[in-house]
């Protein structure tokens, strides 16, 4: 990975997804973090994208299965078991 500085925001942006998913090496993560520390534009964009990802995850995980789904499935499985 090439060294990042103020002039290569494009390089940092190319790694946005991998950075947010923590799929970079510790060394690469550190380089991006250093870039975000000195580049306000990139820091805002990365922060917004992280906020979007977290927002979608938070909202989508609020759904609960219907209360009777577990008992329905288990009773079907038991009935299946008892079939000759």
């Amino acid at each position: 990975m090439t060294q990042l500085n103020r002039t290569n925001c494009e390089e940092a942006f190319r790694r946005l997804d991998d950075f947010l998913d923590r799929r970079l090496t510790p060394e690469e993560m550190k380089i991006i973090e250093e870039h975000l520390h000195i580049c306000g534009w990139c820091a805002r964009e990365f922060n917004f994208e992280a906020s979007v990802l977290n927002g979608v995850k938070r909202k989508l995980r609020q759904l609960q299965a219907p209360a009777d789904l577990l008992s329905k499935v288990l009773s079907e499985l038991r009935a299946e078991d008892e079939r000759p």
Partner: protein, 212 residues
């Protein structure tokens, strides 16, 4: 060297498990039923089909529980069966041409549109206001607009926080495919979220930006 993985034994015949395995299966299934239903809802887009999908996957998992490797991730194993079930059902349906106006979504779509519409773009959680106004149901509706192959990957990513490797294992595809589909699905979802926000009057529709 790692020890060879062990498979559960004691399956006396097709569709039947011994009492101990049955109890184990039921306990493991109870622990994943919410997650399974959540994923099934995103895949099928409606509750009745989601319940059917969970039921069908539970049958297959129950029958195949003898091959489940102890000590491995039951959730991932079950979700793999569930997604295979879904694909199998989809293959039986008429093939539908997949066209999407989400394909050409530019990077940072929500960031740009939020800024134009006066929503926050900075702060500790800048997208929070938009998501609170959208609410879960509309976010679900936006997810439903993604083409199938992208929606499946995005569902496993957003709902279950699976790693790229776990998603690849679940879908039996290369990690690179997961990575590229996930990248595109994130972009598509941003445009879909904005479309839903416009259609519900949460943000003002901008005809000049309609095809952006």
């Amino acid at each position: 060297m790692t020890e060879p993985s062990q498979t559960l034994t004691g399956n006396p015949g097709p569709g039947l498990l011994g009492d101990a395995l049955k109890t184990t299966f039921e306990a493991l299934f109870a622990g994943v039923v919410n997650a399974a239903f959540g994923v099934a809802m995103r895949l099928t887009r409606n509750q009745a089909d989601a319940e059917d999908l969970v039921q069908e996957a539970a049958f297959l998992a129950y029958r195949g529980f003898g091959s489940f490797e102890t000590g491995t991730n039951f959730r991932a194993w079950f979700l793999k069966i569930l997604t295979n079930c879904y694909y199998s059902k989809r293959r039986k349906e008429k093939s539908r041409p997949v066209t999407s106006d989400l394909d050409d979504t530019p990077d940072l779509y929500l960031y740009a549109r939020s800024g134009q519409a006066g929503f926050p773009t900075q702060g500790p959680d800048p997208a929070e206001e938009l998501f609170e106004r959208l609410g879960t149901e509309r976010i679900v509706a936006a997810m439903a607009r993604l083409p199938d192959e992208y929606r499946v990957v995005a569902t496993l990513y957003f709902m279950e926080d699976l790693t790229y490797e776990e998603i690849a294992q679940t879908l039996e595809c290369p990690v690179g495919t997961v990575r590229s589909r996930l990248h595109r699905s994130r972009k598509m979802l941003q445009k879909a979220l904005w479309q839903v926000a416009e259609e519900n009057g949460i943000v003002r529709a901008d005809p000049q930006q309609a095809d952006a």
